[in-house]
């Protein structure tokens, strides 16, 4: 088993260029999400989805960004991505075993196994995973699983011009991120904090393998303040999950045996 890998997205270094969005689409050969002018700052892809695995949020605030500006305004950028949660709702709710934990600790949807049931979609507290109209399957960030196999870093992190997206061993990233927050505090940016860096920070997910440095409340970035994977709410969850999985498996096997080959 390789070391756990992840992303540290430092929003204080983001310039909102969206290179991550395009590099991801290029590598993963994803289709566009439609050409819709939203009127929401420079955000026209709106949120993560089946075909948008990196999404840059643009936040215009009537508040200065300390200690940078003495104006009365700031513009925040943040590149959102699948969090690859330590406790992943999608993975735990997937009845087919399509969603697996890889040797890098990431959460991966196997497209040849996924049957498009959609259980994962409601189980993600971040609204990350989604189903694509065209093929009916669930899709999300793979942490460039194919690239990791060749020691290549994920496409978004590689393209990012300003090192806002950092990829590496989770432990190293956490250390580095703590140091970064300390430095920012020292320079007067007291608002800086880490979102989901550890299980203690975010018990509902037991920590995110893709965590963030933010300058305002999570809601401002369209992130839940206290996310919790649904399966974690069940007492003795592993047993429950096992039982559920077994039951679902039987139903599904039945479906295979009797349902024929057509899709819904």
């Amino acid at each position: 088993m390789a070391e756990t890998k992840g992303f540290f997205t430092d929003t204080t270094l983001c310039i909102g260029c969206k290179a991550c969005e395009v590099a991801c689409k290029q590598w993963n050969q994803l289709p566009d999400d439609g050409f819709l002018f939203t009127g929401m700052s420079y955000d026209n892809t709106v949120h993560l989805g089946a075909s948008t695995w990196r999404h840059v949020a643009f936040i215009e605030r009537p508040v200065p960004l300390t200690p940078q500006h003495d104006g009365a305004f700031s513009w925040l950028f943040s590149s959102d991505v699948c969090k690859h949660c330590a406790r992943a709702g999608c993975l735990e709710s997937c009845p087919t075993g399509a969603i697996v934990r890889t040797e890098y600790g990431s959460v991966y949807v196997q497209p040849d196994v996924c049957n498009g049931c959609g259980y994962c979609i409601v189980s993600c507290p971040f609204g990350v995973i989604n189903r694509r109209e065209e093929d009916g399957q669930a899709w999300k960030c793979t942490l460039c699983y194919d690239r990791l196999r060749e020691d290549m870093i994920p496409a978004c992190a590689k393209a990012c011009p300003t090192e806002s997206i950092q990829f590496g061993n989770l432990e190293d990233l956490r250390e580095h991120a703590k140091e970064r927050v300390r430095k920012l505090h020292e320079s007067g940016a007291h608002n800086a904090y880490l979102y989901g860096a550890t299980a203690e920070d975010q018990p509902g997910t037991e920590g995110l393998n893709a965590f963030f440095l933010l300058m305002d409340k999570p809601e401002v970035y369209n992130l839940p303040p206290d996310p919790c994977v649904p399966t974690k709410k069940v007492k003795d969850s592993w047993l429950a999950a096992g039982a559920t999985a077994a039951a679902m498996a039987l139903v599904a096997v039945g479906a295979v045996l009797f349902g024929g080959r057509e899709r819904v």
């Binding site: 310039i15 566009d32 050409f35 939203t38 009127g39 026209n44 305004f73 700031s74 513009w75």
Partner: protein
């Protein structure tokens, strides 16, 4: 990355050059102060330490204020200023400043509408401008001048002489006070003072800072002087030729620098050699005489010109026929893009090649561009897909409105698909003068070909077509043109490396590549296609293709590709060392004199004569490059000094002076002279202007710009789904106050209007658009991105339907960053265009039709194309 301050002004660097901005972020993280001066709060402002909102087009007032602050507080870098700049030079007694003449310099000729430049000269000498003489467009700058090297005794190193540059500078900027800056630019005084102080604190022996600009500075009727203002500041602060210093131009296209160096520009030959002027350059002797100054590096001029003639005409070029000098055409005026279009509209230009360009969207006054195309006999467009320029006869706004009918357009059009950069070998020159090779990876699809292949084969065909007419002298250039490049591959394409070798230069005798431009001769024994690129193929090695990883070399990375000249990465770097040749400080060390080796050494290739010691002083009889002393870092200038004051070479003044844009909302608060008196205007029915100021019909400032997600006129982005989805529709940006004033709704529609056209756009209401206060009056600015048009995956109206032909007099670049217009809610416009729909805004009573105090310098059509005088202005 090495800077202690970075002022980004006239550029939206984070959005338009995100990867270059990587280094700005590094500098910021290291502690440098990043300052963004811009009418809009952009992605650059968002990550800068300070954003300074400014009224579009008022930059010289702001920068002039900084010059004044530096002088008043005596914060200039004295040793640098006294020794490396022309601050001590004494100027002619005849010189009068704008202070004396209410916004004009001495020498203004009311009748001609232009300056006589003689009174601007150094006292007693007529130095030729180093670059100016070469870039100058023609005519008036070509009068033979008295030629003597600049004499050192005509300076005052104490900087006290009332006519020395330093004192003239002081006087010129005395009224650019913080109060005036506030009044002109709308920048609060405390903010201005903060910026000025940061610049001063972060300059000197131990610190350096950089200015970064882009087309936000060039696209003004006084654009060159915007950039000059930054140069003046940087020379005063000692920030040129040193690590972390400079005035950096961020250019927008992969090889736009290359297109200037190897110019597909009317007034230049490769390597900034001037094209011939009919009036002055009647024979080779005169041409060489006029272009070879007695001092400075340009003393080498004949070697470069004669080597170019050998490269083009080979054995046919000999001493007896003046190296085929008479094979070259001549200029009779300004033949730049906008004049070409006007000539098209007037029927002078019959055939037009457009290669990888989309002027219908990207150039000024779209309706006039299309009017020009309609008058052509034939048009050749080469691109990836059918652009608006290729399809102007099918889906232009005036066709959609039924005002022009396709079946009435006579133009014969050829569309040829172009190969991509992955489908051909070749080099791009980036914004730092770095030549980088891209290799052919695959074959182009179908009939797509490279432009290299197209031009080569067109040349072959023309040689054949003229075969029977080679006896005519006018066809000799075609006959003798060296055009024997080897071909390769299944498509028989010319070998790009063979072309690069010719650009590099070779010896005629054995065809071996020369080492560099110092090997070139004026006796016909060498050929060289572009002297400044000489050395890019030395020893037969394609230096531009070098890709040694950065981790295997120092931060200068001299072995990655190749930079002109001579692989120098930071030019004028002699200025990074003091008078004795020692670095100004350990922290800012770059090159230095090594007494043991008896030569200049350092991290970078020294940009000076390598064995010339710092204490070398030229004798009185020295000529050419021997006149450059050991303390003359600016080797391309006739006197080796950085020019704070430009004695010759600029059309519109030796010192930057604030003028209002062609169309402004205010009267010039500084001078009676409203606009740049030398600006180029095209006063024609098809290019109407607003009043120069306070036009009641057009109360807002319009400014145009680009976005990260698209590329210029959109030819390389609007057809790609991954980019199109990120910015899918034409929009405009307005402040909440303006939205309130005009009833505009976020996400809704607006109609934007100038006298030339009206367009529709979606509305983004945002606090990022900041209104500025000018004399208590709120001035609203409207932002208009410049990417969309009628074709592609995402469409919308084009910004250039609103803009006009008006240009800077030095470089003929248009003014599109500051103009006036109006906006109203909804899709109320009928997308009318003045040219085809007739006037659609009310006329003003004649007495209200204010004009500039002095008439602007017009470029009458008659000066251009020899036949233009006979042509009537087209009316279609």
């Amino acid at each position: 990355m090495n800077s202690d301050f970075i002022v980004i002004e006239g550029s939206n660097m984070a959005e338009c050059h995100p990867v270059a901005f990587r280094w700005v972020m590094r500098a910021r993280e290291r502690g440098a102060t990043v300052i963004h001066v811009d009418p809009r709060f952009t992605r650059t402002s968002a990550v800068a330490n300070i954003h300074v909102p400014i009224r579009a087009g008022s930059d010289i007032a702001f920068l002039g204020g900084i010059v004044r602050y530096i002088l008043e507080t005596e914060r200039y870098f004295k040793d640098y200023v006294v020794n490396y700049t022309n601050a001590s030079a004494i100027i002619s007694k005849d010189f009068k400043d704008t202070e004396d003449l209410d916004g004009l310099f001495s020498g203004w000729d009311k009748k001609k509408g232009s300056y006589d430049l003689r009174s601007w000269m150094y006292e007693g000498v007529d130095p030729e401008a180093a670059a100016g003489m070469r870039e100058g467009e023609s005519g008036k700058k070509g009068e033979p001048l008295q030629r003597e090297p600049i004499q050192a005794e005509k300076t005052d190193p104490t900087l006290q002489h009332p006519r020395c540059v330093f004192q003239i500078l002081k006087k010129h900027y005395q009224r650019y006070t913080p109060e005036m800056v506030e009044e002109v630019c709308g920048i609060p005084q405390h903010l201005f003072l903060k910026v000025a102080e940061i610049l001063c604190q972060n300059s000197g022996r131990d610190k350096t800072g950089a200015f970064v600009y882009a087309v936000g500075w060039t696209q003004h009727s006084v654009g060159v002087q915007f950039i000059r203002s930054a140069a003046v500041i940087q020379l005063l602060l000692g920030n040129i030729g040193r690590p972390g210093g400079g005035v950096m131009a961020l250019r927008g296209h992969a090889s736009i620098q290359g297109s200037t160096d190897i110019p597909t520009l009317y007034n230049l030959l490769p390597g900034y050699l001037p094209m011939l002027r009919a009036k002055h350059d009647q024979d080779l002797k005169t041409y060489l005489h006029l272009n070879t100054p007695p001092s400075g590096w340009w003393g080498e001029f004949p070697k470069y010109f004669i080597s170019l003639m050998k490269a083009w005409f080979g054995e046919a070029a000999s001493k007896h026929n003046d190296w085929c000098y008479e094979y070259l055409p001549t200029m009779t005026g300004d033949h730049s893009h906008m004049n070409t279009v006007v000539d098209m509209a007037d029927g002078v230009v019959k055939g037009y090649f457009v290669m990888g360009e989309n002027p219908v969207v990207g150039s000024m006054n779209g309706p006039l561009q299309r009017k020009g195309l309609r008058q052509l006999d034939w048009l050749v467009v080469r691109d990836f897909q059918l652009t608006e320029t290729a399809d102007f006869w099918r889906d232009a706004p005036e066709i959609q409105r039924g005002e022009v009918k396709t079946k009435d357009i006579k133009t014969e059009i050829f569309f040829l698909p172009a190969a991509a950069h992955t489908e051909k070998d070749g080099s791009f020159t980036n914004t730092q003068r770095l030549l980088q090779w891209h290799h052919k990876a695959v074959e182009p699809p179908g009939s797509a070909r490279s432009d290299l292949d197209f031009v080569f084969k067109l040349g072959q065909r023309l040689k054949k077509l003229y075969w029977d007419e080679f006896h005519e002298p006018r066809n000799w250039p075609i006959r003798d043109l060296t055009w024997d490049y080897p071909t390769q591959g299944s498509l028989n394409e010319p070998d790009a490396e063979a072309v690069l070798k010719e650009i590099n230069g070779y010896t005629m005798a054995d065809r071996k590549p020369v080492e560099g431009f110092t090997s070139l001769k004026d006796d016909g024994s060498t050929a060289c296609g572009c002297w400044i690129y000489s050395g890019c193929y030395r020893d037969g090695v394609n230096m531009t293709a070098r890709r040694k990883p950065h981790w295997e070399q120092n931060w200068i990375a001299r072995e990655w590709a190749w930079a002109w000249p001579h692989n120098r990465r930071i030019i004028y770097n002699r200025a990074s060392a003091d008078l004795e040749g020692k670095p100004w400080s350990e922290r800012k060390k770059l090159v230095w004199w090594d007494e043991n080796k008896k030569e200049w050494v350092g991290h970078d290739t020294p940009d000076c004569i390598i064995e010339r010691p710092p204490w070398y002083r030229p004798s009185k009889h020295a000529r050419g490059k021997d006149t450059l002393s050991g303390i003359d870092p600016f080797v391309m200038q006739a006197d080796g000094k950085g020019w704070i004051y430009v004695a010759t070479g600029l059309a519109d003044g030796p010192l930057p002076t604030h003028y209002e844009p062609q169309e402004s909302i205010v009267k010039n608060p500084l001078y009676g002279q409203q606009c740049n008196p030398e600006r180029m205007e095209w006063r024609r029915k098809d290019n109407p202007y607003h009043q120069p100021y306070e036009d009641p019909r057009f109360p807002y400032v319009l400014t145009t710009y680009r976005l990260t997600e698209h590329h210029t006129a959109g030819g390389m982005s609007r057809w790609l789904s991954w980019l199109s989805e990120l910015q899918p529709e034409m929009f405009c940006e307005v402040s909440p106050e303006l939205a309130n004033e005009r009833g505009l709704k976020n996400g809704g529609w607006a109609t934007i209007r100038t006298i030339r056209g009206e367009i529709e756009a979606r509305v983004l209401v945002t606090n990022r658009m900041q209104s500025v206060r000018i004399k208590g009056r709120v001035v609203h600015q409207i932002g208009i991105p410049y990417h969309w048009s009628s074709k592609g995956l995402v469409r919308g109206d084009a910004a250039n339907e609103l803009t006009m032909f008006v240009a800077d007099p030095n470089v003929s670049i248009q003014e599109s960053k500051a103009l006036t217009g109006n906006i109203e809610p909804g899709r109320t416009g009928k997308k009318r265009r003045y040219i085809t729909s007739g006037p659609f805004v009310k006329k003003l009573p004649a007495q209200e039709n204010r004009r500039d105090l002095a008439p602007a310098r017009q470029k009458p059509q008659t000066k251009h194309g020899h036949r233009a005088a006979e042509m009537k202005e087209g009316n279609q």
